[in-house]
């Protein structure tokens, strides 16, 4: 991600796993300035930062790097505000579908049927579709990506930073301890999510939807959803009823995106 952004970058990080990755003061794992901010204020902070840079005539990239809790639940108000004001920044949400740092509590991003420490029998509500909420703000560019396709992320970050105005990238990040699968399956799990249709890769550029080639192939020949669910401990003992609901939602999501792509072509 930072490789694509280059050295002229500032990161704004709310409370999330990246707060841990940075290391303890005075050491840091990042080669660029990082601003740590309260959970709900990341986008508001980036808004001011970006405006200050532009007023000084600098083209420094401002990137918010937040988790799904900091985007879908706690940070949504500040984020919505920043998108509405048309701030020139990139908002990246890496989504491991729960609050990982505090021990996997449910978040708005947790899919239906997944067990977390606060939903021990499986979540009964569906995953919040943050991409549709962002799309309603009509940003110049937004995309979904998956950590299993690093080159895809690289290209999308590069592309997003060329736009003036708010841009958004939503990355699915498989999390071994939280999803309860062996660590070596991380990349495989991300690919299975895309292949089974639980995660769809697409871009929305000035309202024009383009579905990624990986997801297009998955739409034509989808992998059975069970292949994605069964290796994960969080979906252990999921009711067949919920699997059916998930399948219906996947089919509906595909239909909606395909229709949108056709309409905007």
């Amino acid at each position: 991600m930072l490789k694509a952004a280059g050295p002229d970058t500032v990161m704004v990080v709310p409370a999330c796993c990246t707060s841990v990755i940075q290391g303890i003061y005075p050491n840091t794992a990042f080669n660029v300035p990082v601003y740590n901010i309260a959970f709900g204020a990341a986008a508001a902070c980036a808004s001011g930062m970006s405006n200050a840079f532009r007023a000084a005539g600098k083209k420094t990239n401002v990137i918010v790097y937040a988790g799904d809790g900091g985007t879908l639940d706690i940070g949504i108000q500040a984020m919505s505000g920043a998108f509405e004001r048309g701030t020139d920044f990139l908002y990246i949400c890496y989504d491991n579908e729960a609050y990982g740092n505090t021990g996997m509590q449910r978040s708005g991003g947790t899919p239906m049927g997944a067990k977390t420490t606060t939903t021990p029998t499986g979540k009964t509500d569906a995953k919040k579709d943050i991409d549709m909420i962002i799309a309603a703000h009509d940003p110049p560019y937004m995309a979904t990506a998956c950590a299993a396709y690093p080159q895809d992320i690289f290209k999308k970050v590069q592309k997003a930073l060329t736009f003036r105005g708010p841009t958004f990238i939503h990355i699915l990040a498989p999390c071994p301890p939280g999803w309860r699968y062996p660590t070596e399956k991380s990349v495989e799990m991300g690919k299975l999510a895309v292949k089974s249709g639980m995660w769809v890769l697409y871009e929305r550029e000035y309202g024009k939807v383009t579905i990624g080639p990986q997801s297009k192939a998955a739409m034509k020949r989808p992998l059975p959803l069970e292949e994605y669910l069964s290796p994960q401990g969080r979906f252990k003992g999921i009711e067949p009823k919920i699997v059916e609901i998930l399948k219906q939602r996947i089919a509906k999501n595909y239909q909606r995106l395909a229709a949108e792509e056709e309409a905007s072509a």
Binding site: L2, I24, F30, N31, Q151, E184, K185, S186
Partner: protein
């Protein structure tokens, strides 16, 4: 510090508060150079960025997650139990 920042805004493993994270490892990756076709997938997927351009694995920081062995299309990487 400033020169490296100008060069590339990308992180490399360095000793942090936890010391060298290689000590956490239970299985270590061993590369079979005969089978390796230098595709670079292991280097790209390594979450700790411990594999360099010549596919040498920095065992001081490799945590032994096994992603490289799992993703290698030639099955050239084997995870071997660490002998202490």
């Amino acid at each position: 510090m400033s020169s490296s920042r100008e060069r590339l805004a990308m992180s490399r493993p360095k000793e942090g508060a936890a010391g060298q994270t290689g000590s956490w490892r239970v299985f270590k990756p061993v590369v079979d150079r005969e089978k390796c076709n230098a595709c670079g997938l292991c280097s790209m997927y390594c979450p700790d960025a411990t594999i360099d351009e010549d596919f040498n694995i920095d065992l001081r920081f490799c945590k032994g997650c096994g992603i490289c062995a799992n993703e290698c299309p030639k099955k050239a990487i084997e995870m071997v139990r660490e002998e202490k």
